[in-house]
């Protein structure tokens, strides 16, 4: 893996964490309202997958989509402004946290009705396939979403017509308060794709490198014209389902185990900063991993503690600037709302 890409991914993960924690703070202060679903714990999925994508690829996401938008290059300032409901937000203050859109960056929206991402992505895939373009669609969804009819209906069509869709399941094991074994007869989500003969695999969604590689391979298959692919990323959310949910249904030991041992940001730092593992870290990962760590370090170059600190300071400043921008931005008016509703009317006066 090239050092540049590694550093970019690490930077995006740090940005993702800082952005979301700052959004939580803004919510507590009353600057953000409504439903706010945050991403800490799941960064490796969005970052790994989207760094494997090309700018011409499309992204369709859920209500837990701030980080997908950020990684896609939607400026933190316009994402934060949308969370604040301002006119300068990427959806003009109409959509809010759950409905980020950025046409220019082919960010095709955050959808808040579970299961909506499947048909939208499949439709975009249809248009790409019909025009024989070298593009793909990335479709994000949670483990809970696969029990919605649209999942099965869309996977069938995508496979039937060999549509260029990469289905990415962010399996955080919960559908709000219902743990996966209580909502799904088959808890290995990737196996569901077999029913539609879509190549599928399950990867460690806490490890950005693994996710990135899986996405790269899948996208290569898609671009070769082989139809849809499916990746299940096993991950975990560190916070409640949304800011309204304390998440108290989850066993404390489960949460602690994930936070301590599987924090994807910490893993990414360890991977990027492979030049400086402590003696204990080396002892902890064991022999083979030391070799691979050393290998990736050798091939990928490295990053110093000072560099990491600088990176962290940089993303913190970027997020603060985003908050400043959002807070100073004007509110949209009713005329703006009407204009958004009538955006396709082309000035035609009806009544």
């Amino acid at each position: 893996m090239e050092s540049d890409l590694l550093k970019k991914m690490l930077r995006d993960m740090l940005l993702a964490r800082a952005f979301e924690e700052r959004a939580a703070q803004a919510y507590a202060q009353g600057d953000i309202a409504g439903f706010l679903h945050l991403y800490p714990g799941e960064e490796a999925v969005g970052v790994g997958v989207l760094h494997a994508a090309e700018p011409a690829d499309y992204v369709v996401s859920t209500y837990r989509e701030h980080v997908h938008a950020l990684v896609r290059g939607v400026p933190a300032s316009t994402v934060m402004a949308e969370l604040f409901g301002r006119k300068t937000g990427c959806s003009g203050g109409m959509g809010g946290s759950m409905h980020l859109f950025d046409r220019e960056r082919r960010f095709m929206g955050g959808y808040a009705i579970v299961g909506e991402t499947f048909p939208v992505a499949t439709g975009i895939g249809y248009a790409i396939a019909m025009r024989e373009l070298p593009e793909a669609v990335i479709c994000f969804f949670g483990d809970g979403a696969v029990n919605q009819g649209t999942f099965h209906e869309s996977l069938n069509m995508a496979a039937l017509w060999k549509l260029p869709v990469l289905f990415v399941c962010e399996n955080n094991h919960y559908q709000i308060g219902t743990e996966i074994h209580r909502h799904s007869a088959v808890a290995e989500v990737y196996k569901r794709a077999c029913g539609y003969r879509i190549p599928a695999r399950r990867v460690d969604g806490m490890d950005v490198l693994t996710v990135h590689q899986a996405a790269q391979e899948a996208l290569a298959q898609i671009r070769a014209g082989n139809g849809p692919q499916f990746i299940e990323c096993e991950t975990y959310r560190f916070r409640g389902h949304s800011m309204a949910d304390p998440g108290s249904y989850r066993p404390r030991v489960e949460l602690q185990a994930f936070e301590k041992n599987e924090d994807p940001v910490k893993i990414a730092i360890a991977e990027t900063a492979a030049a400086y593992p402590s003696a204990e870290q080396i002892a902890a990962v064991g022999r083979d991993n030391i070799a691979s760590l050393a290998g990736s370090l050798h091939r990928g170059g490295h990053i110093s503690t000072a560099h990491l600190d600088a990176m962290q300071a940089e993303v913190a400043a970027q997020v603060e600037e985003a908050v400043r921008f959002a807070a100073a931005s004007p509110e949209p008016t009713l005329e703006d709302a009407q204009a958004a509703l009538d955006c396709n009317r082309q000035g035609e006066v009806l009544v």
Binding site: A33, G34, F35, E82, G85, R86, S91, G93, M94, G95, G96, S97, M98, H99, Y111, A112, I113, V114, G115, G144, A145, N147, Q148, G149, Q175, I176, G177, T178, R182, H183, S184, Y249, E331, P332, T333, L334, A337, Q338, L341
Partner: protein, 326 residues
């Protein structure tokens, strides 16, 4: 004995009371069991009645509502909770094509003791997809009955009645009402489920409303009283059928009709109320009926736009004053 409790507690009490009395009642929905329900309505029931009677479902609205239909055909009395009305769009086939039609198309062979409860309305900055009001869609379906309780007492009464009924009944609850408090007296005999309530007497105009707008109308009526206008306020409590008699009796006194609804006006509940009362009262109305309704816009996330999109007390006061002048 009356006690002040939350709206969600009244619903919880209704479920608990009925479930204790009748083993065929089952509750189904997302996070209704272990979690206790998004608005706490099913709190404690899972522990008390077990998983067969309080079932946490996958996110499969179309099919778990349809499952409720099937179970109702063979004697269970399912109470399906759709987490919010916004997701009921995925269950409309089960509600409209199945629940409302099976008793009819079977030539009257099957009971349909199904209750579908759902929170809806405009809450607080939940944006366009989570702020829907779908009463118009459901009102247009022969075979369905729709209750819209606005107080804990009505929530308790109407949920108990809906569970006891063999007809499919949709209970539209309002997201902002769950944590409102009111008196509940379980021993009071309930009025019929579809009976409207005259909740404030007046003589200058009749305000017909339902659900959360009841509170708004009552507040407006208090302000109007200070300016010398006495508004009579009617809470419909049921949108299908509508208690026309109660409204007609009021209009015979006031001769002026104002309808307040949280939904957009176009082809909405207010349009039906207006048409129904114009047909019945044309000759005695001193002015055309008026509607205070939401803007013809999806609900924006932005707080100020959200507030500007739905009726506020001041809008009701202004419209009442204009109506009384005309």
């Amino acid at each position: 004995m009356a006690e002040a409790i939350f709206y969600w507690q009244a619903l919880n009490r209704a479920l608990d009371t009925r479930m204790a009395a009748d083993e065929s009642i089952v509750v189904l929905g997302e996070d209704v069991g272990l979690y206790g329900g998004s608005y706490r309505v099913t709190e404690g029931l899972y522990a008390k009645y077990g998983e067969w009677r309080v079932r946490d479902t996958p996110i499969s609205e179309g099919s778990f509502t349809g499952l409720g239909v099937g179970a109702a055909m063979v004697g269970l009395r399912p109470v399906v909770e759709i987490m919010t009305i916004n997701f009921a769009l995925l269950a409309l086939d089960a509600i409209i094509n199945m629940a409302a039609k099976i008793p009819f198309m079977s030539g009257g062979q099957f009971p349909m003791p199904l209750v579908v409860r759902m929170p809806g309305g405009v809450a607080k900055q939940l944006a366009a997809q989570h702020s829907q009001r779908l009463e118009q869609t459901l009102m247009n379906v022969p075979g369905l009955r729709i209750a819209v309780p606005a107080t804990p007492q009505d929530a308790y009464w109407q949920l108990c009645q809906a569970i006891s009924s063999d007809e499919p009944i949709v209970l539209l609850e309002h997201e902002l009402l769950y944590f409102s408090k009111g008196e509940l007296d379980e021993s009071r005999p309930p009025p019929p489920m579809h009976r409207a309530e005259l909740c404030r007497p007046g003589r200058n105009l009749t305000i017909v409303t339902y659900s959360r707008m009841r509170d708004l109308a009552l507040k407006a009526a208090m302000q109007l009283a200070e300016t010398g206008i006495e508004a009579e306020v009617i809470d419909l409590r049921s949108l299908r059928p509508i208690d026309w008699d109660c409204c007609v009796a009021s209009l015979e006194k006031t001769h002026r009709l104002l309808i307040v609804e949280e939904d957009s006006g176009f082809a909405g509940a207010g349009a039906e109320i207006s048409a129904g009362l114009t047909e019945r009262c044309f000759a005695i109305l001193d002015a055309p009926p008026r509607r205070v309704a939401a803007e013809e816009l999806p609900i924006a996330y932005n707080a100020a736009l959200e507030a500007a999109s739905i009726p506020q007390v001041a809008d009701v006061v202004r419209a009442s004053q204009q109506l009384c002048r005309s």
